[in-house]
Amino acid sequence: MTVQVPFDLSQLDFAAIAQKERARNRTSPWIVVLSVLLALLWVAPFYYLMVSIFKSPEEYAGSSPFALPEGITPVWANIVDAWTTANMAQGFANSALYGVVGASVAVFIAALAAHGLARFQFNGKTFWFMLIFAGTVFPFQMYLIPLFFTYQQMGIINTKFGMILFYTAVCIPFPVLVLRNYMSQISTEMDEAARMDGCSEFRLFLNIVLPNCWSPMAALFLLQFTWIWNDLLFSTVLSQSTDVRSIMSALQVFQGGYASTSPVVVLTASLIASLPTVVLFLALRKTFLRGISISAG
């Protein structure tokens, strides 16, 4: 073997190399056009929403729906109109209660169940898991009629307790599925170390397992909260009075009796109603993107 003279890097044209690399990665113009078209398709309704809420009912009626608004001040009147007509304050409070309590209790209970399913050996383990899992298989609408009559008989129809009970229960199965898989990946040696450190089973769950599941739990909380918040069907069937119904059923006042309300007010109301889930997503985004590393231990 002979020792080679070091290769002279200065003879290379780096600009040319870079250009060649770029050419290799260049996207076809057709893809770009297609992407833009698809993006417009997605943005169009949103654009319609955004321009409309800044128009007064008269301005909306008198111009093209896609025309830009003349000013932004009418938005205040729209907000006030939407807020009072639909009694949104009450709806907000109710939905927040159902969403926060329902989703967090459901995710916590799911974590308990998942811990048991992932960690303990007991008879009929698969059976219990399949039973819980079955809750995610059937369409929820199937529960509607039996639920309505049961609630009526139990006297919890049109009560906040009844609403929370339903939302909590229906939000448990899916998180069990996700958390069981997640917890199965946590090293059992960590559990054993904790037991040797003197942890009881419950403390092990609370102090060791739960803190390592924050990120999936936050994501699951968000998903279930959003589902509860956006639910219209069950809220409509299980509640009637203003002080129990959720924000989404509150919005129904714009149909039927109050059908005379201008579309701009309806649009404003729906935008306001969907703000909390957006805000919550932005707030919790970091938590589950950060992702506490489990494998690192």
């Binding site: 090293s187 960590m190 904790a194 040797m196 803190p211 390592n212 489990i294 231990g297």
Partner: protein, 368 residues
């Protein structure tokens, strides 16, 4: 006094018996290594001592007290896991103090013990970091620290160094040795690395298939292996084995060697003439001519080199006597060509003899 005694210890997983009735008496302050091939039941034994597995049969006593039904945390043992098993969501400091805090130890005492462990293991700069922000060696030290703060009577290690690279492993080996000198607890150390076992332990326990094959000091198990399995397991490269026959004169004939091997008088229980024996010889006792000390009582022979592996400071040479291959080490090596004929001197004073049937050592006074 943390003497650990295992009496007829059995672990059965359903029909599968992982540990088949082992008896072991581990003296206070001693460092015992459990070694053996994968699946032989080392971890299972250790985990029973730790209280992480139930005992199917038999008894474990620590410091004179039977602990079969005592929970892990009350046994006075601490364990270092292969995967370190640190708590990922806690800082190094919290990892160390967690066990003490939940046991309700007073804050000043917790701080004192954490400070001691930190000092011993030089963890000072990392106290506020999470495990994911540490290197493998540092995590290993935190895992040991977590065991130290509990001030256990018995330390249990399950292959603690197997995730580290060779250099770090050596470093940590030295640290574990120092730690044992300093803390003077009883240590039970599971490893499949015989270098670790030989260098760290006062007592080596060789297991196979749920049973103890031999227990003794490193020198004992190396020099006087009780059977062919131990002889082959301890020592690298492993001992060479040849099929031999006992002659009328009480010598041993190997097929492919002209002269029969003399046997040191009185050392072995010799079988009758004509009986087969298994002859064991360590690589260093078949010396390539001019590359090592010529033995006092040699048998010289020539053989073809089948393979040579240069390691720098020595070369491993594979050759054969008759049809049986052997490996030897060439010290102060020169270049060796495959197929070259080479002269060797075989040290007849160093042969081991085993019964080919039972594989037991024929040496007099070997216990099993």
């Amino acid at each position: 006094m943390a003497r650990v005694t295992l009496t007829n210890l059995v672990k059965a997983y359903g029909a599968h018996v992982a540990v088949k009735g082992i008896n072991l008496d581990i003296a206070d302050k001693s460092f015992v290594a459990l070694v053996g091939p994968s699946g032989c039941g080392k971890s299972t034994t250790l985990r029973m001592i730790a209280g992480l597995e139930t005992v199917s049969w038999g008894e474990i006593s620590i410091a004179g007290k039977v602990v079969n039904e005592v929970s892990s945390r009350s046994r006075g043992v601490a364990m270092v896991f292969q995967s370190y098993a640190l708590y990922p969501h806690m800082s190094v400091r919290s990892n160390l103090s967690f066990g003490l805090r939940i046991a309700g130890v007073a804050k000043t005492e917790v701080d004192r013990r954490v400070a001691v462990a930190t000092e011993i293991l030089e963890l000072g700069p990392y106290m506020e970091r999470r495990p994911s922000q540490l290197s493998g060696g540092q995590r290993q030290r935190v895992a040991m620290g977590r065991a130290i703060v509990r001030e256990p009577q018995v330390f249990l290690f399950d292959e603690p160094l197997s995730n580290l690279d060779a250099k770090l492993r050596h470093q940590m080996r030295v640290e574990i040795k120092k730690l044992h000198r300093r803390l003077q607890n009883t240590v039970i150390y599971v490893t499949h690395d015989q270098v670790e076992a030989m260098t760290l332990a006062d007592q080596i326990v060789i297991m196979r298939d749920g049973l103890i094959e031999q227990a003794g000091t490193p020198a004992e198990v190396f020099q006087h292996p009780a059977n062919k399995f131990v002889a082959g397991f301890i020592g690298a490269p492993q001992m060479n084995f040849f099929a031999g026959t006992v002659t009328e004169a009480g010598q041993i004939r190997l097929r492919g060697l002209e002269r029969a091997l003399d046997v040191v008088p009185g050392r072995f229980d010799m079988p009758r003439a004509g009986a087969p024996v298994t002859v064991g010889l360590r690589p260093e006792h078949i010396v390539p001519q001019d590359h090592g000390l010529t033995p006092k009582n040699p048998i010289r022979f020539e053989a073809e080199v089948l393979l040579s592996e240069a390691l720098g400071n020595e070369t491993l040479i594979t050759s054969s006597i008759g049809a049986e291959e052997f490996v030897t080490r060439m010290l102060d090596p020169r270049d060796v060509a495959d197929g070259e004929r080479m002269s060797f001197a075989l040290d007849t004073d160093r042969i081991h003899l085993f019964d080919p049937e039972t594989e037991r050592s024929l040496r007099k006074g070997s216990d099993n």
